[in-house]
């Protein structure tokens, strides 16, 4: 596993020194490089702006030959994130048939952030929310903002 350790610590270093915009990455446990926690500030000009979202990223032992798993720990109103405590994300790069060993965590995190800028209602995890996003954007924005206010307030 030493080769994976080398790669993971390198990636972690990269991600902490030049993180994707609006993200802070830390290790919840100094000894376990396989579990990362991410704090993401909602991108500006989106209903998620100013919200602070916590995410977890776990790297499987087979990493980088198997894709990492990313979950929202903070509840979020979004078509591609399950509206429950698990916060599963539907991200094509994380699917086994799309993941490549040369893919990077940073790319994954950028894709997660991009998902907040541009939700993808054609591949919904929450059909109801996707429906709302498509047909009643004002209502969607309102719901997303109220979720931010309720769950993703800074300092909470």
């Amino acid at each position: 596993m030493s080769s994976a350790q080398k790669r993971i610590s390198k990636e972690f270093q990269e991600c902490t020194t030049s993180p994707p915009p609006g993200m802070t990455i830390t290790l919840p446990s100094e000894t376990d490089l396989h579990k990362w926690s991410i704090q993401l500030t909602g991108p500006p000009n989106t209903p998620y702006a100013n919200g602070v979202f916590n995410l977890t990223l776990s790297l499987p032992t087979e990493y980088p030959f198997k894709a990492p798993a990313v979950n929202f720990a903070t509840r979020i109103w979004h078509p591609n994130v399950t509206n429950d405590a698990t916060g599963n994300i539907c991200l094509s790069v994380l699917k086994p048939e799309n993941w490549k060993p040369a893919s990077r965590v940073k790319g994954v995190l950028e894709a997660v952030r991009q998902l907040l800028v541009e939700p993808n209602p054609d591949d919904p995890l929450e059909a109801r929310i996707a429906d709302e996003f498509r047909t009643d954007r004002a209502e969607f924005d309102k719901n997303a903002r109220s979720y931010v206010a309720q769950y993703a307030k800074a300092g909470k």
């Binding site: 539907c90 490549k100 060993p101 919904p124 059909a127």
Partner: protein
């Protein structure tokens, strides 16, 4: 395009089948092959007589061919050689191209002639340099996967030029081949690079046991890629069977095939022979029979079948955009329709779910009322299944019986073969009888049903009579008269079975049965094709 295809296919009848087959969307071509099973009312007597001529023999038999593993390999090699010669490309590349085109050689050649660059790109053979791939040590190289940069690190790159250390390449391939069962479509490990691993690169990188597994998987994709080929489902049987029956015709024909290993199965659904009942009916029946068990409830609640290859799929998370792990078919979990045709219409799926939800509730209420009727048919179905099992034990005892009979009567081994024949006839007939009850359960009552039930009754009586004779003690079996009776009865049973199957298949082919269920099912897709002439 049609006439071109016909011209090419005329050169070899085998190609004809392949070509037609992958050309599913081309309804006119597909229909032609199945003229025999035309469901239009026959208002033209000349056409009718011609059709019945075509159907001489038994209408429930379909034509098929059994391929041994070596034949499967040879078939692939032949096609690869052909493409290699016609398009003057390397064999590895020809193989990748053929797999990309799901072994539709004609379309590959046509498309390639049209726009070689585009086709190569799409097949994962993008722009290539001429140098053959090899393991190399490159000074100052660092592997982007494991981040190793020690001196003398062996590295490898395909023609796309993305270089990684040999160890990472091997781990990647092992993961794909061993864990994910992938072979034909393993891409370069680089994010976004769609270059496909070719067999020569694999030869350089893989250990022999992994290479063997890879070949095995490749062979498998060849059979799985082609709708006219299917693996024999018998355990340990490595044969594949070729049959031209198309999925959309499964409501008109029950394509039972005989593998060289002796296993009789349905080409449509790979289950054991279930003539005369059509696949969709069998599927519904089996589901119904299993409905009591918790497992069945769980399966129906949590899984669906891939609309293309029928693999059972459990959705354990993720969105509605499903990609079948086995056949790579992309579909919507809600409506089971093609994802590509889906566009932005998933909204309708939401509605569809509501509607089907209420339908499901209605269906449940109805099923309770009809439970009694169901049990009538089920008990008879189950009884034949049970008897067939007992007869099978009997079959194992038959040999012993035959030996005993030889000593008791002084008959020779050849002369006691009639017992073996009787035992086999019993098995086959019971298998048929069993399914006649599932068939009858879904049948609406009319004159045809009465004829069917008469046939069923005749066969059943004959089978029970033969079964009784078969179980007589050795002393009675030694009687020469009983031997003649038994041989007669065996022949009679076989004849009754053929009559029943022939009649059922004929009516099925001509769409004369009225069923209480839709035999097209969700999976058939094509649906009715409407008037054609």
């Amino acid at each position: 395009m049609d006439s071109d295809d016909d011209f090419i296919s005329n050169m070899s009848s085998e190609d004809d089948v392949m070509q037609d087959d992958t050309d599913n969307d081309d309804l006119s071509a597909a229909d032609e092959e199945f003229d025999v099973f035309d469901d239009e009312p026959d208002d033209n007597p000349a056409v009718t007589s011609m059709k019945s001529d075509k159907k001489k023999g038994v209408s429930f038999d379909v034509s098929f061919r059994v391929y041994r593993p070596i034949d499967v390999q040879n078939q692939q090699d032949e096609m690869i050689d052909e493409v290699n010669m016609i398009l003057e490309m390397k064999k590895e590349d020809a193989a990748i191209m053929l797999r990309h085109f799901r072994w539709n050689k004609e379309r590959l050649i046509e498309d390639y002639m049209d726009n070689p660059t585009k086709v190569l790109e799409a097949a994962g053979l993008g722009p290539s340099s001429s140098r053959p791939p090899e393991l190399e040590v490159i000074p100052g190289f660092m592997c982007d996967i494991c981040c190793e940069d020690e001196d003398g690190l062996l590295s490898f790159a395909m023609k796309c030029g993305h270089r990684y250390c040999a160890d990472c390449y091997r781990r990647y391939l092992t993961q794909k081949i061993r864990e994910e069962g992938e072979a034909a479509r393993i891409q370069c490990p680089t994010d976004g690079c769609q270059r496909i691993m070719d067999s020569r690169s694999l030869d350089i990188l893989l250990t022999s046991d992994l290479n063997e597994r890879y070949r095995e998987l490749l062979n498998r994709t060849f059979v799985e890629d082609k709708d006219i080929l299917k693996w024999c489902p018998a355990p340990d049987c490595e044969n594949a069977v070729e049959c031209g029956i198309k999925k959309k015709d499964l409501d008109k024909v029950v394509p039972t095939v005989d593998c060289a290993c002796g296993h009789r199965f349905c080409f449509g659904c790979s289950l054991n022979d279930h003539q005369p009942a059509p696949c969709e009916l069998v599927k519904k029946w089996l589901k119904k029979c299993a409905d009591d068990s918790e497992t069945a409830n769980w399966i129906s609640a949590n899984t669906k079948e891939c609309p293309k290859c029928n693999s059972t799929i459990e959705k354990n998370g993720g969105c509605n955009h499903m990609t079948c792990r086995k056949c790579k078919h992309e579909f919507c979990w809600m409506c089971m329709g093609l994802w590509s045709e889906h566009g932005t219409a998933w909204y309708n799926c939401n509605r569809f779910e509501e509607k089907s939800g209420s339908e499901a509730r209605d269906a449940q209420a109805k099923s309770r009322v009809s439970l009694e009727r169901y049990l009538h048919y089920y008990n008879r179905y189950a009884n034949h299944e049970q008897s067939a099992r007992l007869d099978k034990d009997m079959y194992q005892k038959t040999e012993k019986k035959m030996v005993q009979l030889q000593t008791a009567s002084g008959m020779s081994w050849i002369e006691v073969q009639y017992l073996n024949m009787a035992s086999q006839a019993l098995q086959t007939c019971r298998q048929t009888l069993k399914w006649t009850y599932a068939f009858a359960f879904y049948l609406a009552r009319n004159n045809l049903t009465e004829i069917f039930e008469d046939n069923q009754k005749d066969l059943e009586m004959a089978v029970e009579a033969l079964s009784e004779m078969f179980e007589k003690p050795i002393t009675e079996l030694a009687d020469a008269k009983l031997k003649v009776d038994m041989m007669d009865k065996t022949a009679y049973c076989k004849k009754r079975r053929v009559i029943l199957l022939d009649d059922t298949a004929d009516n099925l082919a001509n769409g004369r049965w009225t069923f209480s269920i839709d035999l097209k099912g969700l999976t058939a897709g094509a649906g009715s094709t409407g008037p054609r002439r």
